[in-house]
Symmetry: C2
Subunit: 376 residues, 2 copies
């Protein structure tokens, strides 16, 4: 059964005054208004940890009630920081099972209500317990991966910086991005060291935001089709993995998604990749098959992945500049693909939009998702 996106959107990302619930309602209202669809067979919401971040339990019921959509069935889906992609995949399966015609898909996180140290501790709950006991945080593990990649593939500090420079430039064109400023090599080199070699500008910000999407089996005038979806899991402790300079869960997810779509990596026109840390965009771009292992950073040097390049990556600004309200991110990537495919991306509009791919990482790359959309 073919499943289409009737509308997709996300709120502005950033340190926002709105509550979690009000952010979700804002995103939902935007897609309901845009699509003219307001009657749903089910509602799905992806979010990583509203219980600890804002004290909101039972979020599926609460949101359905606030939307005045009871008694519509509602479910919350969670796979750590890929919850926004997971909820999209689950909603796809639900509608593809023939049980529904229209479903509302929501995703959100409100992170800035707590102090940074508490947020860092909450985010670290997704790391293996034995590694946590050793005191590591997400940036610490990402730093190990980055250092090893740099050493193995002879990538320089400046090569890595190109990810941040490109994505901050893209973010400066995106009115919904958390950070809308262009940065330089000097800005990066002078920024605070978070976990060697990762500096402040190598890490995504802590953001608030929500995303929404309406899936339908009715062919709709602004047509975007779900061509392929895939997801996969990986050993949680870093020490148990076959290698750490690529993410097996992304590779497996991509394989499934390409197979379902019946296309190859070379057919993809543009992509949104999970750059929670600058090095991750490079690794991701290799894992989804765009570039050979160890060569992803070269595509930044030659401009291939710029907005005007042959294969734009993170035209939105990515997690790096657009922000990373963890549970919202995967669905916000879908919204970016939808906006690009329907010519609504403004100054950051890319040229060729037939096939778009997005990739979302859960935890330290333990539950990753790849989604391929086709603009038709």
């Amino acid at each position: 059964m073919e499943v289409y996106i009737a509308s997709a959107a996300h709120t502005k990302f950033g340190k926002l005054e709105n509550s979690l619930v009000s952010l979700i309602l804002q995103a939902a209202t935007e897609v309901i208004t845009d699509s003219g669809i307001s009657d749903f067979d089910a509602i799905f919401i992806g979010t990583q940890n509203p219980e600890e971040l804002t004290g909101d339990g039972n979020i599926a019921s609460i949101i359905t009630d606030h939307l005045a959509l009871t008694p519509t069935p509602a479910f919350r889906i969670e796979t750590a920081s890929s919850s926004g992609a997971a909820v999209f995949h689950i909603a796809y399966s639900y509608i593809a099972s023939g049980r529904a015609k229209n479903v509302l898909v929501l995703a959100a996180e409100k992170m800035t209500d707590s102090k940074t140290a508490r947020v860092t501790r909450i985010l670290a709950e997704v790391i293996d317990k034995s590694e946590r006991a050793a005191g590591v945080s997400m940036p610490a593990l990402a730093a190990i991966i980055t250092k090893y990649y740099m050493h193995k593939y002879r990538m320089s500090r400046d090569d890595l910086s190109l990810v941040a420079i490109k994505n901050h430039y893209n973010g400066s064109l995106n009115p919904r991005a958390h950070i809308q400023k262009v940065i330089t090599f000097d800005d990066i080199n002078n920024s605070k060291m978070i976990a060697d070699p990762l500096r402040l500008y190598d890490c995504c910000p802590i953001s608030d935001g929500a995303a929404a999407c309406i899936l339908t089996t009715d062919a709709f005038k602004k047509n975007v089709r779900i061509a392929g979806i895939g997801s996969a899991t990986e050993h949680v402790p870093l020490r148990n993995r076959e290698g750490i300079t690529s993410f097996q869960a992304t590779k497996s997810a991509a394989k499934t998604a390409y197979s379902m779509a019946g296309i190859m990596p070379k057919d993809i026109n543009f992509a949104e990749l999970h750059d929670a840390f600058t090095s991750f965009e490079i690794i991701d771009s290799e894992d989804v098959g765009f570039f050979e292992p160890g060569t992803g950073w070269k595509a930044l040097n030659d401009g291939t992945t710029n907005i005007k390049g042959k294969l734009p990556i993170n035209a939105s600004g990515g997690l790096k500049a657009q922000g990373h309200p963890v549970g919202a991110t995967g669905l916000a990537q879908i919204a970016e693909l939808f906006w690009q495919m329907t010519g609504q991306a403004g100054e950051r509009q890319v040229k060729n939009t037939r096939y778009g791919l997005c990739q979302n990482i859960g935890g330290l790359a333990t539950n990753n998702f790849v989604t391929i959309l086709e603009g038709i």
Copy 2:
């Protein structure tokens, strides 16, 4: 597409030494061994709040890794205390969409690691924020409902006690029940008042436990078929509801489930209903259409719902005696139906098992599920 249960089981419920992860592995191992199926297209886990109860985030990845089943796709589903039913419904939709042949469904909660006061606070996070601000807890809201039902339908304290007496008797026959002792009217009347009129023996215990189930599209020798499923949401604040002596979300869910199954309430042979509080079993039995509003308690008086009665309810002991590890309960109900339908229920075996129904409440009845299985 027809979907079958190849196996279902749950661990003993109680105050257990095992960790959350080890409980889940125990339940998973039991269904894998019983069915002979160990290769899954996806894994689903339902749990309400492992982040706060045991500090376990990213549970879908962690469990998949511990089962040595990476890179299998894995998802966590949450709808408060109906997470164990929600995960079953989502897994059903996933397999019915044609994307999978065999899926592993898991559900669990580990509640006794924290002190009772903290658990009560965590459980209260599912209540409307304005009601929470007024200081209510789950038992307080249940007490309001119970008092009003007793007044409206002239149900006595002794009538209410019959639920606890029946379910504790059933639990005494169930080696996996949290509480395996017979109780009397005196035990109830002498037990601590929790929230007037609810005494200790009107409330389910705080339990640890896990459940597991394997869904398959292959007709299997111990055949149990999923005949009907339905779920629905309800206004979260009690004050916004049309009435409080019945739960609209159960009624809507039941309507959907019966419609899908093509049967009527009178066709159901036995049921597991969500008796987190004694009065809830009575309300539930009316909401799923077994009895007219205000008459459910009479069926206890005449023995209709005893194990040997015409329509056994909570042969397992129910939440009241078997226990209520919140996220596990909905899937444990499925396991009880499966055991009954395959003649594995031992001393608590009911006679007629063609159609079994289970009903699971999320939050204060804001996200409820009804599932109908057919033994064939």
